[in-house]
Symmetry: C2
Subunit: 393 residues, 2 copies
């Protein structure tokens, strides 16, 4: 039986756990920020954090050179950075991004490298491992406390797919049973930490939700327009995977039923109009760039408006190479606001602030697996369902 | 400290709770069905259910007249039906549906009544209460064990909306602060049970997911085409509400940018093409019904394909009055399959099997609040957020 004296200790434990969990999810925070997040009184918080500091579970981070004359910049509290590391890999069609964070959620190494799309998966993995070695060597990081690895790959995780003859060739090419097995095998040869695999654009959506400027995003619609057009959905405070792992494939929503043939087998998909290669091709054919970009933006805005009417997200995030075209985001916004459900509240539509790093950071968030957005996620991502398990014969 | 003897008792408790929870969610099940759902051995299950039967927590249901000559039909186990009741109300634009279930998840009273759209909310509530009285009297049900009430109302729950001048008049007319207060007050005058309020079409989507033919649906896209066109989304094993409560408003996705003006303020919404009044109006103007219905079905199929590409649901359910038009569902299916993401797996698209009762049954599921689809749901539905709490000024 608990003695009366035990109760404060139990409560203290709960508070400690909440503080550690908050720092784990959000990275370093000032005491004032912690106070607001957790809702403890200043006295209780200070009492508990000093115990945690004494124990070495957390550390104080002095701000580097703060802006002068605006009062002393506040000290931040962080988890002991040495207590864990997470590695994120975003394996795109033409380049790979890696990032390493420590337990305090600080990026301690990162890098990017291009490869040619003709490379085999095996060759790409060699590029990835070389990049990890170089990026960590550059900042003197040793991956001695690796606790998890997230690996994003392009295209849906196809092991849940059905009749192979009906799956578009580009997805067959990256079909997952073999690729997943290969990645697992090679990663296991080099690292001991558990591996989480998923679509790289879905990871980027998760990265925006977890690492983006809005804290506690419980619903988000994400689109990335580069070589291809992909996306991801956070809804009901969950990263949505979908029944076959294809949730968020916004690039394959039809925008012109009489439009160009898409590699997916359909006609007039958003990707045939608004990917970087599609825009370049039309300009090369002699169309005015300004008009091509405006039309691509308008088509993207219409797709985002339709998807927002389905999901009613808190924010809509646009990312990718195509954002470099002047006027593109404005055209997206105009079409979006024209076609989105009128509710009297403007849905926040913004450009990504994480840009190319979103995928690697999202992969880390998935490997980290402590975001509430990931409840119920692991079982799918770590051991993809097979279609035979899910559907009647 | 637990004695060694205690351990089997603890395990037994867990098994008991799982059995009760399963019967609570699914309604009466045979022993074989329970065995499959829970994964206990026949011996353990039989051991535990006999204790539950002896204690009166569950009862045996003998099948009424089974088909002859096909073996003895199996006895089903159910929660003691007298241990609780739940009331569901689907308050549509022109009619109200009510249903009452007992704790065994059996519908013990139900009914429907039309009213004229010009009626005030106060008058509509009188119709609702009269219908509840008549429906329960007809089957001799006394609402003595009422544990929860679910109330579905048309249109989004507007208390989260913003600038009133930008909200379409039809939604202003059913704006919720006043309507919600009125319903709460009148219901509290008559019943003591807690009340859950939400959009009636969202409840219908929940009803299809919980009461429909597919057990354990973790993702579902629902559309109802009657006086208006609404819908609902279950994704990531959650009923999706959205940031302002408008998730699933599929009727206001644009299908023709140069189409007719919609009451919502936009142009060419699905509702302007595929609601029952829209179809009737075009036929009255002299268009061939077959063509009008085919076009309405095609537009609906395109919207469902786009929404499915966003969500990747396990199934897509079509409901409402418009299904009565011959050829409508076929036209939906053709357009849907033409534009949905090719994955080699056919997304199950089907007509609702619950038809008009889905909304009331979904409202019950929400009041019941024991479906895993409703984790994280209550706080929103029982005390809607205000826009001022959510958005920066």
């Amino acid at each position: 039986m608990a003695k009366p004296d035990d109760v404060p200790i139990l409560i203290r434990r709960t508070h400690e756990e909440r503080i550690l969990a908050t720092l784990r999810e959000s990275g370093p925070l000032t005491r004032a920020e912690l106070e607001r997040r957790i809702g403890l009184s200043r006295t209780t918080l200070s009492d508990i954090t000093s115990v945690l500091l004494r124990r070495g579970a957390i550390v104080e981070r002095r701000p580097e050179e703060g802006p002068r004359g605006r009062g002393r910049p506040a000290v931040r509290l962080a988890l002991d950075p040495a207590s864990g590391q997470f590695l994120g890999v975003d394996l795109g069609h033409r380049r790979v991004q890696v990032a390493v964070v420590n337990a305090a959620n600080e990026v301690i190494a990162s890098g990017e490298r291009a490869y040619i799309p003709e490379m085999s998966w095996s060759e790409r993995l060699e590029v990835v491992f070389g990049l990890i070695d170089d990026a960590t060597a550059a900042t003197g990081v040793r991956l001695g406390a690796l606790e998890g690895i997230g690996f994003g790959v392009p295209g849906p995780l196809g092991s849940a797919f059905g009749d192979e003859s009906r799956v578009p060739p580009r997805w067959q090419g990256t079909r997952r049973d073999k690729v997943v097995a290969l990645i697992r095998e090679r990663v296991a040869e080099r690292f001991e930490a558990p591996l989480v695999l998923d679509n790289n654009t879905r990871f980027a959506a998760l990265g925006e939700a977890v690492w983006g400027p809005s804290l506690d995003t419980d619903s988000l619609l994400y689109i990335r327009l580069s070589d291809g057009v992909g996306g991801g959905v956070v809804a009901g405070s969950r990263l949505v995977v979908g029944s076959l792992g294809t949730a968020g494939e916004l690039g394959h929503i039809t925008v012109d039923p009489r439009g160009a043939r898409c590699w997916c087998g359909k006609q007039g998909c958003l990707e045939t109009v608004a990917s970087a290669p599609a825009i370049r091709a039309r300009v090369a054919e002699g169309a005015a760039e300004k008009m091509v970009v405006r039309e691509a933006g308008a088509a993207t805005g219409r797709v985002l408006a339709a998807a927002s009417t389905v999901m009613d997200p808190t924010e809509v995030v646009v990312a990718g190479e195509v954002l470099r075209y002047r006027g593109f985001l404005d055209a997206v916004r105009t079409a979006f606001e024209h076609e989105v459900l009128p509710t009297g509240v403007r849905t926040r539509l913004r450009a990504s602030t994480l840009s190319e790093q979103a995928g690697a950071l999202g992969a880390i968030a998935a490997a980290f697996h402590r975001s509430p957005l990931l409840v119920g996620y692991a079982s799918w991502a770590t051991s993809p369902v097979r279609v035979a398990d899910r559907l009647p014969a």
